[in-house]
C-alpha cells in the first residue's frame, strides 16, 4: 500500500476518478498488489471448485491401473495424460486436486457458518444477560481456549468418530470461543450506548432489543473474525484429514491425499508435493 501510493501520486490526486465509497474501495484494492494476488488465487480455487467436473481431465476416483505412480508430464517417464502424475492406484493427481478444492471450500464454509451462528447466539446471550449466565459462558469459553486447537479438534473427533461432517463440527468447536468472545464484547459495548437505552425506554422487549437494535451494530468485528476463520478452517481440516481423522480416504481431500501418499514419499515425490501446494 505504502509503496504503490508513492509510485503513483497522479492517480491519488486526480479529481476525475470516482468518489463513491465503493469506487474508493475499488481504487485502493486495485493498487494493493497483495490483495489482487490473493483475489486471483481465491478466484482460481473457487472456479476450480465450481467447474471441477468440466475442467478436471479425469474423474477423481477413476483408477488407471496401467499408469500407477506415474511421474509428472515434464519428466522423462511422464505423459500429458496425467499432468501432475498419478498416485499409487493410478488416480490422476490434478483431477483429485481440482475436486479437492470443493471439499476444502465446503468444509471452510460449513465451519464458518456453524461457528458463527452458534458463537453469535451464545456470545449475544452472555453479553445481553450478564450476571451468572455471562460468568458461566465466559469461563466455559476460557476452558475451551486453554486447550491447544488441534488437540481440541482431536477430542471432538475421538468422541464423534472420524468423518468429514464430524471434522466440520470439531473445527467449529475450536473456533467457537473466539467468536463468542468477540460477540460478547461487542454486545456489551453496544448495550452501554444511549441509543439502546432510548429503544428500551420506547418499550422494546429484550428479544427485539437484542436482535433488531444491538446485533446489527456488532457485525463488523465478527465478519473480520469469520474471514480469519475461513483460512484457518481449511488448514485445520487438511491437518485432521492428514491424521486420518477428517475426510476418509476415497474422498479427494487435500490432507487425506497427503496421508495416503506418505509411505511413497521417497519413491514418488510428486504424490506428496502437489496435494500440499494449494494450501
Amino acid at each position: 500500500m505504502r509503496a504503490s501510493t508513492a509510485a503513483d501520486p497522479a492517480a491519488a490526486t486526480d479529481p476525475g476518478v470516482s468518489r463513491s465509497p465503493f469506487g474508493l474501495f475499488l481504487q485502493a484494492f486495485v493498487r494493493h498488489k497483495g490483495a489482487l494476488l490473493g483475489l486471483a488465487v481465491f478466484t482460481i480455487v473457487v472456479l476450480a471448485a465450481i467447474l471441477a467436473d468440466v475442467i478436471a481431465p479425469h474423474a477423481p476416483d477413476a483408477q488407471f491401473r496401467a499408469a500407477s505412480l506415474q511421474p509428472p508430464a515434464w519428466t522423462a517417464r511422464g505423459s500429458w495424460n496425467f499432468p501432475l502424475g498419478t498416485d499409487p492406484i493410478g488416480r490422476d493427481i490434478l483431477s483429485r486436486l481440482i475436486h479437492g478444492a470443493r471439499f476444502s471450500l465446503l468444509i471452510a464454509v460449513g465451519v464458518v457458518a456453524l461457528s458463527l451462528v452458534a458463537g453469535i447466539v451464545i456470545g449475544a446471550i452472555a453479553g445481553f444477560a450478564g450476571g451468572l449466565v455471562d460468568l458461566v459462558i465466559a469461563r466455559l469459553m476460557d476452558v475451551l481456549m486453554a486447550l491447544p486447537s488441534l488437540l481440541l479438534a482431536i477430542i471432538v473427533v475421538a468422541i464423534l468418530g472420524p468423518g468429514m461432517l464430524n471434522a466440520v463440527i470439531a473445527i467449529s468447536v475450536v473456533f467457537l470461543p473466539h467468536i463468542v468472545r468477540i460477540a460478547r464484547a461487542a454486545v456489551m459495548v453496544e448495550m452501554s450506548k444511549t441509543y439502546v437505552a432510548a429503544t428500551r425506554l420506547a418499550g422494546a422487549g429484550p428479544g427485539f432489543l437484542l436482535v433488531d437494535t444491538v446485533l446489527p451494530n456488532c457485525i463488523a468485528p465478527l465478519l473480520i473474525q469469520a474471514t480469519l476463520c475461513f483460512s484457518g478452517a481449511i488448514l485445520e481440516a487438511a491437518a485432521l484429514g492428514f491424521l486420518g481423522l477428517g475426510a476418509q480416504p476415497p474422498t479427494p481431500e487435500w490432507g487425506t491425499m497427503l496421508a495416503d501418499a506418505r509411505e511413497f514419499v521417497l519413491r514418488a515425490w510428486w504424490v506428496v508435493t502437489f496435494p500440499g501446494s494449494p494450501s
Binding site: 492428514f242 506418505r262 514419499v265
Partner: protein, 249 residues
Amino acid sequence: MLTEFLTLLPATLELGLTALLIALVVGLPAGSLAAVKRGSVVDHATITLALSGYSMPVFWWGLLLILLFSGTLGWTPVSGRLGVQYHFEPITGFMLIDSLLVDEPGAFASALRHLILPALVLTTYPLAVIARMTRSAMLEVLNDDYVRTARAKGLSSWRVVNVHALRNALIPVITVIGLQVSVLVTGAVMTETIFSWPGVGKWLLEGVYRRDYPVVQGGVLLLALLVVGVNLLVDLLYGVVNPRIRHAR
C-alpha cells in the same frame, strides 16, 4: 496412563524445547536485525520468510523436508530418535543427555541427527511469529526517547540495540512465546506423526485410533495443564523482565 505419559513426555519435551530454542536463537536476532535495518533487503527477506513460515502447513512442510534432506541429500534419517545399532535403557528420557551418559561412541551424533529435522519442522511457525513480533516491538522501542539518549551518550549501537532496546521490546515477545507453547503441542502431534517420534502426541493420536478413551482424556488433560502452567510461568516472568510490573499494585 500416568506412567505411560511420563515415559513419553521427555521425548516430546526434547523436541519442543529444541524447536523453541531454535526459534529464539534465530528469531530474536532476525527480528532485531530487520527492525534496525528497516526497509532494507534483510528486512524484506525476514518479513517474507516469516509470512511463508506463518502459512506453511506443518504436515506438508515436514514431508518436503524429508524429501529434500533424507531422500535427495541423504543427510538425516527419516524417523525415530536413535539409530538401530545403539540401544540403552533410558536414564533421563532425554535422548541427547542419555546418549552422552552411556558412553557409546556415535550415539550422541545419531540422536542429534534424528532430532534436527523434526525440530526444524516444529520450529517453523513459532520462529515466524517470534521474528515478526520482535521486529514490530523493536521498531516501536527504537523510536523512544531513551534510545536516543543512549545513543547521544555515545554508546555503541550494538549496546544500544541489545541492552537498552531489546530488553524493553521483550515484553510482548515473551507473551507471544508463552502462546507458542500451545502451538508447539499442536505441532508436536503432527510432527511426531510424520517422523514416527515416540512422544506424547503420537501416543495420543494412537489412543484416538484405538478408541482408548482413558488415554485421550488423560493425555489431553495433562497437556492442557502443561500449557496453562507454562502460561502462568510466563506471566510471572514479566516481573523478572520489567520491574515496574513487579511493583504495580
